[in-house]
């Protein structure tokens, strides 16, 4: 189990920095927003928490296709499926590795990028906290999507299409918490809901992911 986690982390670091790239994408989306909506700082401040959440979500989404597809292509997944590890555990570990290499860096970077978007001072704590609570759900849900599409030739965009609607509740509660936090309103309810989604997803989705992966392998 820990061997798998270590291997995935090592691969992420070694493959030309799978680690830094999610982060870089996040940075670039954030930077592109002023180019596209215009440089007015009042507008930017209003949309800042939302942009940070959306950017994190997209960065996460884009890294999903390397979550399982690489192992599928070179045959490792067949071998892992016949190894003495339950597939549910394999997938949970892979979600964890994905979160550590993608979600966690995004959480840490968000406050820095908030500066670029004129995020109001009260918002920094809440954007970080909401991302910290919400991104694990993104990884786990994403693993399900990756397992669904793993057999398909370059299922990249299909993967996005399938996963996006599943991300809706997480995004809504997460962004709502961040926005309320930035506006100085109460954030307990959305944060609690967000936590509930994350815990539920971590507890249940690996079983669904393993089931679809088994179907795809056969």
């Amino acid at each position: 189990m820990s061997a798998l986690l270590l291997r995935d982390l090592r691969l992420a670091f070694r493959a030309g920095g799978g680690f830094g790239l999610g982060l870089a994408f996040f940075l670039i989306v954030t930077v592109m927003v002023p180019f596209s909506v215009g440089p007015n700082s009042a507008t930017l401040a209003v949309i800042a928490p939302g942009v940070l959440w959306l950017g994190a979500l997209l960065a996460c989404l884009l890294s999903l296709d390397r979550l399982l597809a690489l192992d599928w292509e070179d045959g490792s997944l067949d071998l892992l499926a016949t190894a003495p590890l339950p597939l549910e555990a394999v997938l949970s570990v892979k979600s964890l590795a994905h979160w550590l290499t993608t979600g966690l860096p995004l959480v840490l970077a968000a406050p820095v990028l908030g500066v670029l978007l004129n995020l109001p001072a009260g918002g920094y704590l809440w954007i970080t906290l909401s991302l910290l609570i919400g991104t694990p759900a993104l990884s786990v849900i994403g693993t399900f999507g990756a397992a669904l599409t793993v057999g398909l030739k370059r299922g990249g965009l299909l993967l996005s299409l399938l996963v996006m609607p599943l991300y809706v509740p997480t995004l809504i509660f997460g962004a709502e918490a961040a926005r309320r936090g930035a506006a100085g309103m109460a954030v307990e309810t959305p944060l609690l809901m967000l936590g509930g989604i994350t815990l539920g997803a971590i507890a249940l989705l690996p079983f669904a992911s393993a089931a679809v992966l088994r179907v795809n392998l056969r």
Binding site: L161, M164, P165, P169, T189, I197, A208, V215, N216
Partner: protein, 244 residues
């Protein structure tokens, strides 16, 4: 004599062919009748004017959009548990009908919103959750299309449907929490005072019944098509096997 007999494709084809003609006729009669009744023979609403006539399309379509998903959920469960091919194919057959119903509800709603709310679109919870439903349909159909092996496709789409349903309900709550709506509440519930007046209600019921029958007829027919397509695929594969 159990209901599972119809899980045999032949039996299914045989029976559906017998009931389909009357279903087509009944649904056409109800829809056309209900629409004519509603369009020509009901008064305008005192607040909404003649736009109230849109309700005869909007509400039945919205109803079927949701119920089609329920039907797919049920059929997916049957496939997962009992592995009857017909039920998987029925789920596949229902999805495009469901997405068109969703689209009709969205479009009539948008057209209605222009005079009533002064905007085509607002991020009202009900509207928003329909949009999310539309996305679920889109993903579901795309997944069916993307997979060659029919059994694999059936397995994957049915699990997607189960997981998706959970998330669709979650989205509904999330969206409600996120924005208070403009849209009217369910006014057909029996105990509310603000029920639509009977003049509107009866043609509406007629249309709803028509849409339900139309949906059933379409799904039966399309399931038959899927069964034949599946048999054809198998036959062609069999033929290849014989000369490969």
């Amino acid at each position: 004599m159990s209901i599972w007999e119809y899980a045999n494709p032949k039996k299914f084809l045989h029976t559906s062919e017998r009931v389909l003609p009357s279903l087509w006729v009944a649904s056409a009669a109800l829809i056309v009748g209900g629409l004519i009744w509603g369009f020509f023979f009901t008064p305008d609403d005192y607040r909404q004017g003649s736009t109230v006539k849109i309700i005869y399309l909007h509400v039945p379509a919205a109803l079927m959009a949701i119920n089609a998903w329920f039907m797919m959920l049920l059929a997916s469960l049957i496939w997962v548990i009992r592995r009857h091919h017909v039920s998987a194919l029925a789920a596949k057959a229902a999805a495009p009908v469901g997405i068109i119903m969703t689209l009709i509800a969205l479009i009539t709603g948008a057209i209605w919103g222009q005079p009533m709310w002064g905007t085509w679109w607002a991020w009202d919870p009900r509207l928003t959750s329909f949009l999310v439903l539309f996305l679920f349909y889109l993903g579901y159909i795309a997944l069916w299309e993307a997979i060659d092996n029919p059994d694999t496709a059936a397995d994957l789409t049915s699990i997607l449907c189960l997981v998706g349903s959970v998330f669709a309900v979650l989205s509904r709550y999330a969206v409600n929490f996120w924005n208070q709506g403009l849209h009217q509440g369910a006014s057909l519930s029996l105990d509310k005072e603000e029920n639509v007046a009977d003049v509107f209600a009866f043609p509406l019921y007629t249309c709803m019944a028509g849409f339900i029958l139309f949906f059933i007829a379409l799904v039966l027919y399309r399931t038959g098509t899927e069964i034949r397509a599946r048999r054809m695929k198998t036959l062609i594969a069999r033929e290849r096997m014989s000369d490969a």
